[in-house]
């Protein structure tokens, strides 16, 4: 890892007002990211997606975002004007969303969308863009790239849509990719192929990756480092390989609650939540 981190996040807070009270989705989150695979794990509602969206300046109204520091390679993301975001979003930071339905344009064919993204950020000829788009579809293990190229998003299965979206997010070769549950809709065997593609991009192009997932097995085997979120906070940070030796009681409970192929358990541990975890 180089000295200056790619991304720095300090004291990030996100709150949603509603029905006379505030939902604090993200509370005082701080971390730095290099050219590495950083995992964010936690149960639904713990603030993982909101953290990812805040980095991209995509927290929906009426969400309120504040941070002491939010920088990408020295650029202050909190100070960006809307037109300045155009040079960052999709080009330097991409995000693979949990649900491809919300990220793919329903009325444009898959191939056109990927080509458009390429030409927007890389400015090649249509022919070049077409070739790169087909290569990308092939790289994400779409069996028949030519066929999928001419399909509309609704004509693809969930797993196929997810892969098409990953192809679109990667074609601009961003510096930072935020992947929000990118493999949850995929079968395990396909999952590992997609992880292999992401892995290669980190290793060969020096891309930074934030990998959001609720799956501890995947995160501990795929990432370098892991942040564990609970109630909008980071309750633990550790090396992915050291997750089994995690210290925070919530992390330990999460691990104990998951059934394991290799270590049979008579009964699964259930989680007794301690209000102190939210302090």
């Amino acid at each position: 890892m180089s000295a200056a981190p790619l991304l720095e996040v300090e004291a990030l807070d996100v709150a949603f007002p509603g029905r006379g009270r505030l939902t604090h989705a993200v509370r005082g989150v701080s971390f730095a990211l290099g050219r590495e695979r950083l995992g964010i794990v936690g149960e639904s509602g713990s603030g993982k997606s909101t953290t990812g969206r805040a980095i991209l300046g995509l927290v929906p109204w009426p969400g309120m975002v504040s941070a002491k520091r939010l920088t990408l390679g020295g650029i202050d993301l909190m100070a960006l004007r809307p037109h300045e975001w155009l040079g960052i979003r999709g080009r330097r930071i991409s995000m693979v969303m949990q649900d491809p339905k919300y990220s793919l344009n329903p009325v444009v064919k898959i191939g056109e969308q990927i080509m458009e993204t390429y030409r927007l950020h890389r400015r090649g000829s249509r022919r070049e863009a077409r070739r790169r788009a087909l290569d990308m579809l092939d790289a994400v293990r779409i069996r028949d790239p030519d066929l999928v190229f001419h399909r509309y998003p609704h004509q693809l299965s969930g797993g196929m849509g997810q892969r098409a979206m990953i192809a679109m997010m990667l074609i601009a070769e961003p510096d930072l990719l935020i992947a929000d549950e990118p493999t949850s809709a995929l079968d395990v065997t396909v999952q590992n192929h997609v992880l292999g593609i992401l892995d290669e991009l980190v290793a060969e192009r020096g891309m930074g990756l934030i990998f959001i997932s609720h799956n501890l097995t995947i995160v501990s085997s795929f990432c370098d480092r892991v942040l564990v979120m609970y109630g909008g906070r980071i309750v633990e940070e550790c090396a992915a390989s050291g997750l089994a030796a995690a210290r925070h009681p919530y992390t330990r409970a999460l691990i104990a609650a998951a059934p394991s192929i290799d270590r049979p358990k008579a009964e699964l541990t259930t989680i007794t939540r301690d209000p102190a975890w939210l302090q």
Partner: protein, 253 residues
Amino acid sequence: MIEVAALSVTFHVGHVAVRAVREVSFAVTEGETFGIVGESGSGKSTVLRAIAGLLPTPRDSVRIAGRAVGARRTRSERRLLQFVFQDPYASLHPRQTVDQILNEPLAIHKIAGAGALVGRALADVGLGPEHRFRYPHQLSGGQRQRVAIARALILDPRILLLDEPTSALDVSIQAEILNLIARLRRAHRLTSILVSHDLAVVAHLCDRIAIMQEGSLVELLDVERLRRGEAREAYTRELLRASRGYSRAQAPA
């Protein structure tokens, strides 16, 4: 208790014939929890639906307690077998309270003493009187799945079919539901089939596991052999390896 013999199911979609299940055979003994694992589209749900008599199947390809499914069944035969689905939100009527949801099967089967039975069924799945008059949207995902299980068990069936019962739930809630299923199958002496795409979930609850791929049952093995990696078929070994997590060595070139 359940015998499936050379079961095949083909769906016709326009001019295309989808062979969803191909010559699948297995037997589940009384009191056993049998597991079926496979990736999406491998035919797991179709096998369960055939067993439940929800699909037209050739005579004698499915037998329950010695009797062929497919022939018209009496009310008491239908009562013998109950189903729990992945998405409790979709399988519970949104405009019915928990109380109405649990009363319905009792009314259909004209069972007396419904009030007390509903209270007991709720307690059985760890819900209290405070949940009884709520609507599904006023419950958490785990609580809704508890209601679906209570509804399945209220007729005191002998067979419980579980189709991805925890796939939509967080790991901590999954743990509670899997523990609940383990306790109830003992208490009610149930014979059950658990279908999941998650090998760890199936290995946790089942002694014998069928691996399905593209409609076929590729291997049937007991959980100890699976844990020791003693699978005969390459596909089973691939599934097992992938389920243990990502490994750089197996990544595509």
